[in-house]
């Protein structure tokens, strides 16, 4: 895969090369749109009207677009986390817990820093803490998987509950502001809002953590396709027996990958804690970890695809608020589910058909 990206065979024109990765997800989206239309019709509403509201509430105004960018930032982090795991043959369902612990760790470091710490340094330390927190939540399933072959699916799910309960307890008993479920405000440093540079975003939560997410996507791409560790990671994911034969320590690769995956998810916590609220609040992750699975799936486990997919799901999520007047906002949840199902089923089918068409032409 890496090589096909690096050195493209000369015979395929660019549009054919793009067709392979793009046509399947676009087909899936088309199916989802049709199903969405039918759903809207069942509520007695006009699909055109609902989609108009959806676009108006998101991409068509600066505030809505800012909210989309804000939500996409978190989703990109958890999506990258899940995608990296899948590339190594692991299904990390623990991004939810890793995100929460990452956010909490960032908040703790932010609150613990002495007054007078330079803001930039404070933000950097908080970022490190967020990554470390996410890694910590992933370390338990990673160790159990590498050492005993325990299923990371089960252990990461369980870790979500453990992390949630632990943070719940810590916040409720140790660090919360009275009458609330959040920590005190962090004054050591903040990630600036986009509105400070582009005033049109005023009021939206969009902040510069989005640059972190883009940088992470580039870094993950480089790691996967340009480094020896990535070569080994993908070999482990595709064929663990071949990887083992190639002198790759499969268990260690799993362990290392889950730590990195956890760190990616954990960094997403900064978006809320330092970019938006300046505190850690119970339940801020709100399903962004689980939605990261859908983002990775729709993004075909490719960092670029993950960025696009995170925008898509963020749009749906923000759009749900805008269309609430006409249809229940849960309808958008259903639509999200349809996207996931359509991608899971249509993508392999469309790929098969593409290959068949090419075969006939050859």
């Amino acid at each position: 895969m890496a090589a096909t990206e690096a050195t493209v065979p000369p015979r395929d024109p660019w549009y054919q090369r793009l067709m392979e990765p793009l046509l399947p997800p676009l087909t899936a989206l088309l199916i989802a749109a049709v199903v969405g239309d039918l759903l809207i019709l069942s509520f007695g509403q006009s699909p055109r009207e609902v989609f108009r509201l959806l676009v108006e509430g998101t991409w068509a105004n600066a505030y809505g677009f800012g909210q989309v960018l804000y939500k996409a930032t978190t989703l990109a982090c958890t999506g990258l986390a899940v995608a990296l795991g899948i590339r190594a043959g692991m299904f990390n369902i623990g991004a939810e817990g890793q995100l929460a612990l990452g956010g909490f760790a960032a908040a703790m470091v932010g609150l613990g820093l002495p007054a007078g710490t330079p803001a930039a340094l404070a933000v950097l330390l908080c970022l490190l803490a967020a990554g470390a927190g996410g890694s910590l939540a992933a370390a338990v399933p990673g160790a159990l998987k590498a050492r005993f072959g325990a299923s990371e699916v089960i252990v990461t799910i369980m870790m979500n509950f453990i992390v949630a309960a632990l943070l719940n307890w810590l916040v409720a008993t140790k660090v919360s502001v009275a009458e609330s479920l959040h920590t005190p405000e962090i004054h050591a440093g903040a990630v600036p809002r986009l509105a400070e540079v582009i005033p049109a975003f005023h009021g939206s939560a969009a902040n510069f953590t989005i640059l972190v997410a883009i940088a992470l996507a580039i870094a993950v791409w480089w790691y996967l396709f340009r480094t020896r560790a990535g070569y080994e990671l993908r070999a482990v994911g595709l064929q663990p027996d071949a990887a083992e034969y190639g002198g790759i320590d499969v268990g260690r690769t799993w362990w290392r990958t889950l730590l990195l995956s956890g760190a990616l998810a954990g960094l997403g916590g900064v978006n809320y804690v330092l970019g938006y609220k300046q505190y850690y609040e119970e339940g801020f992750a709100a399903g962004a970890g689980y939605l990261g699975i859908a983002v990775a799936l729709v993004g075909r486990n490719h960092p670029g695809g993950v960025l696009v997919a995170s925008l898509l799901f963020a749009t749906l999520s923000q759009g749900a608020l805008a269309v609430n007047a006409l249809v229940p906002k849960q309808m958008v949840d259903v639509l999200t589910a349809v996207v996931i199902i359509a991608v899971a089923t249509a993508v392999p089918e469309v790929q098969r058909m593409l290959r068949a068409v090419r075969g006939r032409l050859a």
Binding site: A3, T4, R228, Y231, L238, Y245, G247, R355, A362
Partner: protein, 547 residues
């Protein structure tokens, strides 16, 4: 002559791959008909269409004069056409009888009529001469017995036309002889047999007529009487081919020591402990070995598998530089575990492995490889290649640390390496970016061999089933490569289920049975008839037993 099967103008395309183009076949009722061709010639695809597994894209199929083009497996079975597949499809936890009646279980009231099922199966065994105890669990059967159960399963469903896909790949020579007897009996009882194989001596031995396929097409049909392996091979490949078996005539002259080679069989000491030929305790120097001290030595090695704690049982041998030591044996007698233990893929329970005098027993795969151990693995699809990787990427598997600077891979060096290997080993298509999955078996194996022979400095090569699933032309090439490596002073441990291959390449031959090396012979004294009894366990160095 009545025609059992007639296929004409058959075309079948899978995605990019044309499996059959203008394939045809005519099988007479009551004959054993062999279908031969290189790997990927489209034999299995054609047979599967006859058995109803796929429908052809074009062409017609007739069975007993009836047009059955595009029928289903259910219809095929109802019409008495059954296929025995290359890979066993049995439920290991069920008994033989339970496997056979699966899907049409006899009942006594609400309950499964076990006695009835076993009686029915026993009657079929009697009639066909395929001897298996219907009450035994499939998991406990040997490979030969499994094969018999597969054939019984098809016959139990009333098959009159039997299609066998590479049935002898996993059998020892006596088991093969037994299978021929059964097939001849079936034909005598009015059945028809279609046999897919790439072993030409088998074709000559058992069939009446032969259909040859090449590149998805039927290129000829001939009566077996009058055909020779060489003439069939020429039809298969379309040019003259040097066959592995031809080397039988010429003794392995590469090693002058051969002449004084004497038979070394396993000796039993008074207390019943086995003493292996070729161990250090053997006072006599190993005849017919290469020169110098052992490049690879395995001492009292015991290796466990999930099935038993001594899958490899206290095994010892040495391989010297400039020697090919071939281990023959029916698959599943510990060869896989032995090789995995030597390569570092499976821990040893006890004993040691030494590479050039250094004990490497506890070393990792990479440490061993870097110390000069190359390995052509048994299963290139599972271990030897990452199928989704490009040829270029697969050519550095196990060498990736030598193609990186800091964290990053050095992509231009990977590309240059690929171009060089592809040219040296004539890999086709000659495109470094093609995924390994898209290559034919022979070209995939060339990628593996190119990497293992040229990718690193090595002193010992483990070559396991090096030509399995590889076409005749590539077999020749691979054998030449192995001989060249031997002549360049490498020590080669060859493990193959193909006795012809072991005999063609080896300077010394051993047989593994039940996790032990039951016999070791210089090449000059080894032959299929000498080794056969050892391979089945009929001879185990004194303790006659087996099954």
């Amino acid at each position: 002559m009545s025609v059992a099967i007639r296929a004409s103008g058959i075309r079948k395309v899978f995605g990019d791959c044309v499996a059959n183009r203008n394939a045809s076949l005519e099988v007479a009722t009551g004959e054993i008909h062999a279908v031969v061709g290189e790997n990927g010639a489209g034999k299995s695809t054609l047979m599967r269409m006859i058995a109803g597994m796929y429908a052809p894209d074009a062409g017609t199929l007739e069975v007993n004069g009836r047009d059955v083009t595009g029928w289903s497996t259910r219809e095929a079975i109802a019409a008495g056409v059954g296929m025995v597949h290359q890979h066993f499809m049995l439920v290991p936890t069920l008994t033989v009888a339970e496997n056979l009646v699966l899907g049409q279980e006899p009942r006594a009231g609400l309950q499964f009529d076990r006695a009835g099922a076993e009686a029915a199966v026993r009657a079929l065994c009697e009639r066909t001469g395929l001897k298996v105890d219907p009450a035994r669990r499939v998991a406990d059967l040997t490979v030969g017995e499994l094969q018999r159960v597969e054939i019984l399963k098809v016959l139990f469903r009333g098959a009159k036309i039997l299609i066998l896909d590479e049935p002898t790949a996993v059998l020892s020579p006596p088991e093969v002889t037994e299978l021929w007897k059964v097939l001849r009996a079936l034909v005598a009882q009015g059945g028809t047999v279609v046999l897919i194989t790439h072993k030409l001596d088998e074709v000559i031995e058992v069939s009446q007529r032969i259909t040859v396929m090449r590149a998805g097409e039927t290129v000829g049909q001939t009566d077996t009487a009058g055909a020779t392996p060489a003439s069939i091979a020429r039809m298969m490949v379309g040019r003259e081919v040097r066959l592995a078996g031809d080397d039988h005539a010429e003794p392995p002259t590469a090693n002058p020591q051969t002449a004084d080679g004497r038979r070394q069989t396993e000796a039993k000491t008074a207390d019943g402990r086995r003493q292996m030929a070729g161990t250090a305790s053997e006072a006599r120097p190993i005849a017919n070995a290469g020169t110098g001290s052992a490049a690879l030595s395995v001492r009292a090695l015991t290796v466990a598998s999930s099935r038993r704690p001594n899958e490899v049982d206290n095994l010892s041998f040495e391989v010297r530089p400039g020697e090919i030591f071939g281990i023959a044996g029916v698959e599943g007698n510990g060869q896989t575990e032995l090789i995995e233990a030597i390569a570092g893929l499976r821990p040893a329970v006890s004993g040691s492995v030494q590479l050039g005098g250094t004990d490497i027993t506890g070393w990792t795969v990479r440490q061993r490889a870097d110390a000069g151990l190359s390995h052509i693995p048994e299963d290139r699809h599972r271990r030897g290649l990452v199928l989704e990787y490009s040829i270029a990427d697969d050519l550095i598997l196990g060498l990736q640390h030598r193609f990186s600077r800091g964290l990053a891979l050095v992509r231009d060096r990977i590309g240059r390496n690929a171009d060089e290997r592809i040219t040296q080993f004539d890999v086709r298509p000659a495109s470094a970016t093609t995924p390994a999955r898209a290559l034919s078996g022979g070209n995939q194996q060339k990628v593996v061999i190119a990497r293992e022979l040229r990718g690193r400095e090595f002193s010992v090569l483990l070559a396991v089933q090096p030509t399995r699933g590889v076409d005749v032309g590539a077999i020749e090439f691979i054998h030449d490569q192995l001989r060249a490596a031997r002549n360049a002073g490498k020590a080669i441990l060859l493990v193959s289920a193909d006795l012809v291959e072991v005999l063609a390449l080896s300077d010394r031959v051993g047989v593994m049975y039940g996790g032990r090396l039951v016999v070791t012979l210089p090449r000059a004294e080894a032959s299929a008839s000498v080794l056969g009894p050892w391979m089945t366990g009929a001879m185990t160095g004194g303790s006659h037993g087996g099954h």
